[in-house]
């Protein structure tokens, strides 16, 4: 090839192969990435009011445990997830009820109320929370989560507002 401006047959093949290969790679590669990370974009977000118990059964100074399960559709399967918490009554006013989520803020184990320790104890790493959910001891980074919204029905049943993650 004497003229250096002219593309040689070999170089033309190389460049063409590169371009076509790159196109095919992109056309299949990019969708593949979205295919893999697709579940991260899915949103649940279903909302519901969930009854947790009668207000008259909840005693001052004794956290009232409750639990409920929610069925979620994950991919092609329905999965039941369990949730739980404690209603802490402070007075006769149902609005002052403090409703704690029993999911430990450290690594998501379930805390239990211990009468002896007068605290919520997490069985996994010995975390201790006060009746108000404040961290007393152990590794948790923050206080127990709270179910912010609740209401009382005409029959005296406490319901909490629940939104799926």
């Amino acid at each position: 090839m004497s003229d250096s401006h002219e593309l040689s047959r070999r170089d033309f093949i190389k460049v063409t192969t590169g371009i076509v290969g790159g196109l095919i790679g992109t056309m299949i590669g990019l969708p593949s990435v979205f295919y893999l990370i697709d579940p991260a974009f899915k949103e649940g977000g279903k909302e519901a009011w969930i009854p947790i118990g009668k207000f008259e059964d909840m005693q001052v100074g004794m956290p009232y445990p409750f639990s409920f399960t929610r069925v979620q559709v994950n991919g092609w399967e329905r999965t039941a997830s369990s949730f739980g918490g404690y209603a802490v009554r402070k007075s006769d006013d149902p609005d002052e009820l403090l409703i704690l989520n029993s999911r430990c803020t450290h690594l998501a184990c379930t805390v239990n109320w211990s009468v002896d320790a007068n605290a919520f104890i997490c069985p996994c790493h010995d975390a201790k929370f006060s009746m108000e959910g404040e961290v007393l001891d152990g590794p948790p980074p923050r206080a127990l989560d709270i179910y912010e919204e609740h209401r009382i029905t005409e029959d005296g049943i406490i319901e909490i507002f629940f939104k799926e993650a």
Partner: protein
């Protein structure tokens, strides 16, 4: 600096030798018919990649296989594309491998010194059919179920050892969870491993002998 890194690596790995022997090797004057082998190998790689992606969502269990395939098609971003490529690529691969075989036959490329390349090629054709046969069952729909029923039943008609073959293929006398599981295993591990190994030897022999000449009148 990149030049130095390249030279350092090349001295130890020998990219240049690979390049010269694999991609820059001398070829006789040939035609597009001689590209079918490369095309088959490209499809093998494509089937491998899309197949790996499919296993991210697919479940080889009678309870979930159908639903998980349905989910791939409707619930996952670009699932239809990945499965579509795998589905049509499978059909295309069987066709290409077969036409490649015909080309080798008609140009008499199977003769000395390439007899072994031809024999391994037969193995490649059979394993490709095996991929098609095992993959067909995996969606676990009516067509898949009955096609495999018929296919294994045919294998079962062999004299004396027919019943044994049928039970070995199905993992029992009937199509069951065991059948689906072993077809899945064969489809993603056993047959691809054999196929890849055979491709390796096939390629080595082709590079060793070079492409055959297109036959002339006096041949």
């Amino acid at each position: 600096m990149w030049k130095n890194i390249y030279l350092w690596l090349d001295e130890r790995i020998g990219f240049n030798d690979f390049y010269k022997n694999l991609l820059d090797r001398p070829e006789p004057k040939t035609s597009w018919w001689n590209t079918l082998g490369s095309a088959s190998m490209f499809l093998f790689v494509l089937q491998g990649l899309t197949g790996i992606f499919l296993t991210v969502y697919y479940t080889p269990s009678p309870d979930h296989a159908y639903d998980s395939v349905n989910y791939i098609m409707e619930g996952v971003a670009f699932g239809w594309l990945i499965r579509g490529i795998h589905h049509w690529g499978a059909t295309l691969m069987v066709i290409l491998v077969f036409v490649h075989m015909l080309r080798v036959f008609y140009t008499a490329s199977f003769k000395y010194p390439r007899e072994l390349t031809w024999l391994i090629g037969i193995g490649l054709f059979l394993t490709t059919l095996g991929m098609g046969f095992t993959g067909y069952l995996l969606p676990w729909n009516q067509k898949a179920f009955w096609a495999t029923t018929v296919g294994t039943q045919i294998a079962g008609t062999a004299p004396y050892i027919g019943e044994f073959i049928l039970k070995a293929l199905r993992g029992g006398p009937d199509l069951s969870a065991l059948t689906l599981q072993r077809f899945f295993s064969a489809h993603i591990w056993i047959i691809p491993a054999i196929l890849a190994a055979l491709i390796g030897v096939h390629l080595f022999l082709i590079i060793k002998h070079g492409e055959s000449h297109w036959p002339k009148k006096e041949d």
